[in-house]
């Protein structure tokens, strides 16, 4: 029962039938976005093939430089992805804070996770370091995107309330405290929700992957619990840094609201 069943190329081609089904429905119902679906399928295929070959090379040539390089590439893509997901204009200062929060929050979490929790030896062991980092970065990216959007929209929609606080003599941090707290909560909520349904509503990706790869469900569960805690920590840290520093970018040096 152990060992992974390899998928033959012809079998893999069958998987694309699902895309064809989607394209058929979209065409029949005149929903549109055919190009977007095709592009997503092609991009996903090319990206994964490229990553597969790169990882194959990196795994057989272990080096801290490769691990860190891939980590930086993942961070960069994640940061640009966040910028793309933000609705409306975003200031240069806020962009810097988003990038800094992502980098700082995920780096602390990844290092703690691979050294203290998993006990990787060496710490840069690519077959663990890269996928684990990817999961933390990916989830933090989603969290921070939600947090930024909530913060921007929250301050914009509650401009009068924020100004009212300032007019009474409140510090800017106090004036946006409720909005910042809400942004933080909204950003970590999906992680909390996924923890709630885990194991009952769905079997999480990492655990599924390990079971398919032949690992015992008990080991898979231990990894899944650990990675969920790691994700929670990473999302918490990145969003906390971003919300705290990001909220200040909406005020100028005279503590006036600058929208």
């Amino acid at each position: 029962m152990s060992g992974t069943i390899d998928i033959q190329i012809m079998q893999l081609v069958f998987a694309y039938i699902f895309v064809l089904v989607l394209l058929f429905i979209v065409k029949q119902k005149e929903i549109g976005h055919k190009g977007e679906i095709l592009l997503a399928s092609v991009r996903m295929t090319i990206q994964l093939i490229a990553v597969g070959f790169i990882l194959e090379y990196v795994f057989s040539n272990q080096s801290p430089i490769y691990s860190i390089l891939i980590l930086l590439i993942m961070e960069t893509f994640a940061i640009y992805n966040i910028f793309g997901r933000v609705e409306g204009r975003i200031s240069k200062k806020l962009k810097l804070i988003i990038a800094g929060s992502m980098f700082l929050g995920t780096s602390i979490s990844i290092l703690f996770f691979v050294i203290a929790v998993v006990g990787l030896d060496p710490w840069f062991r690519a077959d663990y370091f890269i996928p684990l980092s990817g999961m933390l970065i990916g989830n933090s990216m989603t969290g921070i995107s939600l947090g930024v959007n909530y913060l921007i929209n929250g301050i914009r929609d509650n401009k009068n309330l924020v100004e009212n606080y300032l007019m009474l003599g409140a510090e800017p941090e106090t004036a946006v405290k409720e909005i910042s707290n809400r942004a933080f909560y909204n950003a970590v909520l999906p992680t909390i929700n996924s923890m709630m349904g885990m194991g009952i509503v769905f079997l999480p990706g990492m655990m599924t992957g390990q079971i398919i790869a032949g690992a015992s469900p008990i080991i898979a569960i231990k990894y899944q619990i650990a990675i969920m805690m790691g994700i929670l920590g990473s999302v918490t840290l990145t969003v906390f840094f971003m919300v705290n520093k990001g909220a200040k970018t909406f005020f100028n040096s005279r503590k006036q609201l600058n929208l």
Partner: protein, 208 residues
């Protein structure tokens, strides 16, 4: 107390020179969109003029810490936002967000009476009508006992009778406690009755 010289703010305000005296009641009249609210916002540093200088107590307004200044010169906007919770919460929260210790001596019920609100302190603030919310917001400002009160149409949601009653109480409070009141109003009758000085602002300029 305030001296404004050669003030320009976008295309909204263009003031050559004006003096606003301490312990006086000043009324600002003018048609809507003429720059009255902008004028008030300049005085408590909610915005900064593009050109010109504003001095407060002889010192450039820019030299004050903006938050300390706003605690001394409190502004009540035309559409004040009420905090969630009870009427009492609105008072306690106002004290908390401004680290205000002076107000501990004030009785919340007395403040409600000053603005003619008969509700209980534990009533939900959200259930108040527009005019009542405006009066609660006014009471919140008075709770802070600022040196200068900047009121932007403080009685716009009130009927004429209540409007005059509330303004009279605010003016009495200001005169009794040696405060300065600068108030935007749409009513020339109110201005003439209560103000020591009336300023007319039209199209961003002061009309003499």
């Amino acid at each position: 107390m305030f001296k404004l010289e050669k003030i320009k703010f976008k295309n909204i305000l263009n003031i050559e020179e004006i003096l606003l005296e301490e312990n006086r009641v000043t009324a600002i009249l003018g048609s809507s969109g003429g720059g009255k609210t902008t004028f008030l916002k300049l005085l408590n540093n909610m915005i900064t003029a593009d050109q010109g200088t504003i001095t407060y107590q002889g010192k450039d307004i820019e030299s004050y810490d903006p938050v300390s200044l706003r605690r001394e010169i409190v502004m009540l906007p035309q559409d004040p936002q009420i905090f969630k919770g009870t009427i009492k919460d609105n008072f306690t929260k106002t004290e908390a967000i401004t680290d205000n210790e002076n107000s501990k001596n004030l009785n919340y019920n007395e403040l409600l009476q000053k603005v003619s609100l008969t509700q209980d302190l534990n009533d939900a603030a959200d259930n108040l009508s527009g005019g009542e919310k405006q009066r609660l917001a006014l009471a919140r400002v008075m709770l802070l006992e600022p040196k200068v009160l900047l009121l932007d149409e403080p009685s716009s949601s009130l009927d004429k009778k209540t409007e005059e009653k509330i303004i009279k109480r605010v003016v009495d409070y200001v005169r009794k406690n040696n405060r300065t009141l600068i108030m935007v109003t749409h009513s020339s009758k109110i201005a003439e009755k209560f103000a020591d000085k009336i300023i007319n602002i039209e199209n961003g300029k002061i009309i003499k």
